[in-house]
Symmetry: C2
Subunit: 130 residues, 2 copies
């Protein structure tokens, strides 16, 4: 007899809906490009505003501000202002912010591993369609 093929799909057993919802909401908050970038560069240590702008390339002044405000509001980043002239403001990850690095790294590894696969799939798809 033929054995049933056991597909190696890790299941999301019971409360998958609940999980998806929670994940969806979190992704709305931390899943955007700049948030990830900020967490990434801050994972190596605290940075000042303009340092961060240089580290992350291509982010506008405005967007970095908004992203940092949002992260600060969510308790993932701390903002420390020194009353010097010129002003100096340091941003750093909180414990909660640091804890986000691990899952993001998991996704990053996936991205690195599967990017070639995706790129090829796209190329083939576009071949067929065009």
């Amino acid at each position: 007899m033929k054995t049933t093929v056991t597909v190696p799909i890790p299941e999301l057993p019971e409360s998958d809906h609940h999980n998806c919802r929670a994940l969806g909401q979190i992704l709305d908050r931390v899943g955007d490009k700049w948030t990830v970038m900020v967490v990434g560069v801050l994972s190596r240590g605290p940075l000042r505003f303009n340092q961060m702008m240089r580290e992350i390339g291509g982010v506008s002044h405005r967007m970095l501000t908004l992203t940092l405000r949002s992260l600060e509001r969510d308790g993932l980043v701390t903002r420390t202002a020194y009353a010097t002239i010129p002003p100096k403001v340091e941003y750093a990850l909180t414990d909660a912010g640091s804890s986000l690095i691990e899952p993001l790294r998991a996704l990053s590894n996936w991205a690195i591993e599967y990017r070639p696969v995706i790129d090829q799939a796209r190329a083939e798809y576009d071949m067929r369609v065009i």
Copy 2:
């Protein structure tokens, strides 16, 4: 006044950047709400179009179509059309698509664990600001 600033740059600056870029690009592709939802519901097995619409609540006809096209193009989902009347089209995860579940679950677990923390941080932040 002459100042020489020696910036304490940690090692592996390029690979970190590279990782962030890769992750950022992947998040642009798979990091949106509906993509995550689709992968989530398909993780339990193949589904037809309208089944999926019902499983995922709140997704519009149009967005589900676009999301599925995009996933198909990236080789994460297969589309199988049966020439019956009425038409029947089944969507399923590819191996690449399935492999995405693990890192997404890592993020999902983080979301579930830290949602209360975030919510409280927000509440406190809004307290202080308002």
